[in-house]
C-alpha cells in the first residue's frame, strides 16, 4: 500500500513511478495523478476480472508500480492479482478520493520580524491555501474543506488561528473557511461584492483593509483585483508576498466566466493584471490559489514566483491587444469545473449536502485558469 502523502513526495522529488490506473477510460482521461517522471497504463478493472495475464508483460519490473482506482476496492483486487503473478505492486490507499483530499504543507518563506508563511498544496486538485504565522497567531487564506489538516497543523506549531480569509467566492472547491472560523472563533473575511447572495455573517474584506497577526505586526493588505469574480481580492503579506487568488497563476491567468459574466468581467481582469498589478513591486513573491500543471512546482514542491518574472514570462500578462486578450479569456475556455454551480451555492451557505456528495462534487481537476 502507498499513501497519498508518499505519492506526493515522489511528485516533489521527481521520482519515477509506474501508475496502473484501473478506472474507466473517461475518468482517466479527465483526471489522473500527475508526476514529472510517472508512466501510465490505463486498463479498467472490469477488463481484468478474468485475470491479469494479458497485462503483465506491459508492466515494468525495474520500478515501483502503483495501482489506482476511484476509492481503492478495485485497486486492491488488481494489486492482489498482480502480486500473485509475482510483481511488486502497491495500491493507492483511499484511491483518487484520498488523492483529491490530500494537503501537503510546504514552508514558502520567512517574514521579516519572525514568523513564516506556509503553503498547503492540494496536489491532486491543484488548490493552494496559506497559513501566515507570527508570534503564536495565524491567518488562514483560501482554506479547503479538509479543515482538520489546518487545525492540527496550527496546533502542532503552537499557533492560534485568528483570521480566516477567502480571496473570492470559490467555484471549483468547497471552502472550509467558515467552518474553521466557527470552531476557532476566528474572524471570517470575504469580499462583499462576492457575498451578495451569502446567507451567513462575515467581515467585509475591502480594498486597503489590513489585519495584524501576532505582535510582530505582520500586515496583510487587501488589494481589490476583480476579474475572476467581481469581488476577487489579493493580499500583500509583509510587503513581500502577493497572494494572487485566482487572478494570476504561475503559467496562466484567471478565467472570468465561472460566475457567469465573462464578457462583463474581462475588462476588470485586464485592469487588475495590466494596471493594478503593474503598480506593485516586481520583487513581490506571487503565491496563487491554484496550480494547473505539475511543471509549475518548484523543486521543494512549492508553487511561487517573483512578480517581475511573471511579467516577463507569463503569456497572459503579455498580450498587448485588448481584443486579443478578450478573445483569450472568453473563447475556447476549458470545460468548467465539475459541479461548479452547486459548489458556489455551498460556499454561499445556501445548500449543505452530506460529505459524500461534497467529495463527489469536487472530483476532477480545478480548471480555474486560461493559458
Amino acid at each position: 500500500m502507498m499513501t497519498s502523502k508518499e505519492v506526493t513526495q515522489k511528485v516533489f522529488t521527481k521520482e519515477s513511478l509506474f501508475i496502473l490506473d484501473v478506472r474507466n477510460a473517461g475518468d482517466f482521461a479527465d483526471w489522473k495523478i500527475e508526476g514529472h517522471n510517472f508512466d501510465y497504463l490505463n486498463i479498467p478493472y472490469f477488463e481484468l476480472l478474468d485475470g491479469v495475464e494479458g497485462i503483465v508483460e506491459k508492466l515494468p519490473t525495474d520500478k515501483e508500480i502503483l495501482v489506482v482506482c476511484a476509492k481503492e476496492g478495485s485497486s486492491i483486487m488488481v494489486a492482489e492479482m498482480l502480486s500473485d503473478a509475482g510483481l511488486n505492486v502497491f495500491y493507492l490507499k483511499g484511491g483518487m478520493k484520498a488523492w483529491s483530499e490530500h494537503l501537503e504543507p510546504v514552508k514558502v518563506g520567512d517574514l521579516k520580524d519572525g514568523g513564516e508563511i506556509y503553503q498547503f498544496v492540494r496536489i491532486g486538485k491543484g488548490c493552494l491555501s496559506y497559513l501566515v504565522v507570527s508570534n503564536g497567531e495565524a491567518a488562514l487564506i483560501d482554506a479547503t474543506r479538509m479543515i482538520e489538516t489546518y487545525m492540527e497543523f496550527a496546533e502542532s506549531i503552537g499557533v492560534k488561528i485568528k483570521h480566516v480569509f477567502d480571496t473570492h467566492l470559490h467555484a471549483d472547491h468547497i471552502s472550509g473557511s467558515r467552518a474553521i472560523a466557527e470552531i476557532t472563533g476566528a474572524t471570517y473575511w470575504l469580499p462583499p461584492k462576492d457575498a451578495a447572495e451569502v446567507i451567513y455573517t462575515y467581515q467585509p474584506l475591502t480594498d486597503g483593509k489590513g489585519v495584524t497577526i501576532g505582535n510582530a505586526a505582520i500586515h496583510i493588505h487587501a488589494l481589490y483585483s476583480p476579474g475572476h469574480t467581481i469581488g476577487s481580492t489579493s493580499f500583500i503579506v509583509d510587503k513581500k508576498f502577493l497572494l494572487s487568488g485566482d487572478i494570476l497563476f504561475i503559467d496562466s491567468i484567471g478565467r472570468p466566466d465561472l460566475a457567469g459574466l465573462a464578457q462583463d468581467w474581462v475588462g476588470d481582469l485586464r485592469e487588475s493584471l495590466y494596471k493594478r498589478y503593474r503598480q506593485l513591486s516586481e520583487e513581490l513573491v506571487v503565491l496563487p490559489a491554484h496550480f494547473m500543471i505539475i511543471d509549475e512546482l518548484n523543486n521543494d514542491g512549492s508553487i511561487s514566483e517573483k512578480l517581475g518574472t511573471l511579467f516577463a514570462e507569463n503569456h497572459g500578462l503579455n498580450i498587448k491587444d485588448d481584443n486579443e486578450f478578450r478573445k483569450l479569456v472568453t473563447e475556447n475556455l476549458p470545460p468548467q469545473p465539475n459541479a461548479y454551480q452547486e459548489i458556489r451555492e455551498i460556499n454561499m451557505g445556501k445548500i449543505n449536502p452530506d460529505m459524500d456528495k461534497q467529495r463527489e462534487m469536487e472530483i476532477g481537476p480545478n480548471r480555474c485558469a486560461v493559458r
Partner: protein, 75 residues
C-alpha cells in the same frame, strides 16, 4: 421489456457490482435482459463502459432514492 433476471447489488462497493453483473450475464442467453440494482454511484460509468467493451447493450438506467437501476441486454 422482458426482464430475464434481476441482480441485487445494493450496498456493495466497487468492484463487486461489476463482478456480480459479469457472473449474472454469463448465465443468460444472448438477447436476454439483466436488471441490476446498485447503490454505488461509480457503477454508472463503469457499467456502461464494461457493457460496451463486452459487446452488451446498456438499454437504459434510472436513479431513485440513491438506488441505480440498469437494464443490460446480453450481446
Amino acid at each position: 421489456m422482458k426482464i430475464n433476471k434481476i441482480l441485487d447489488a445494493k450496498g456493495l462497493a466497487c468492484p463487486m457490482p461489476i463482478v456480480k453483473t459479469k457472473k449474472a450475464i454469463a448465465e443468460l442467453e444472448t438477447g436476454e435482459v439483466l436488471e441490476v440494482h446498485t447503490t454505488d454511484k461509480g457503477a454508472k460509468n463503469d457499467l456502461s463502459a464494461w457493457a460496451k467493451s463486452g459487446g452488451h447493450e446498456l438499454l437504459k438506467y434510472e436513479e431513485e432514492n440513491n438506488v441505480w437501476r440498469f437494464w443490460i441486454k446480453k450481446g
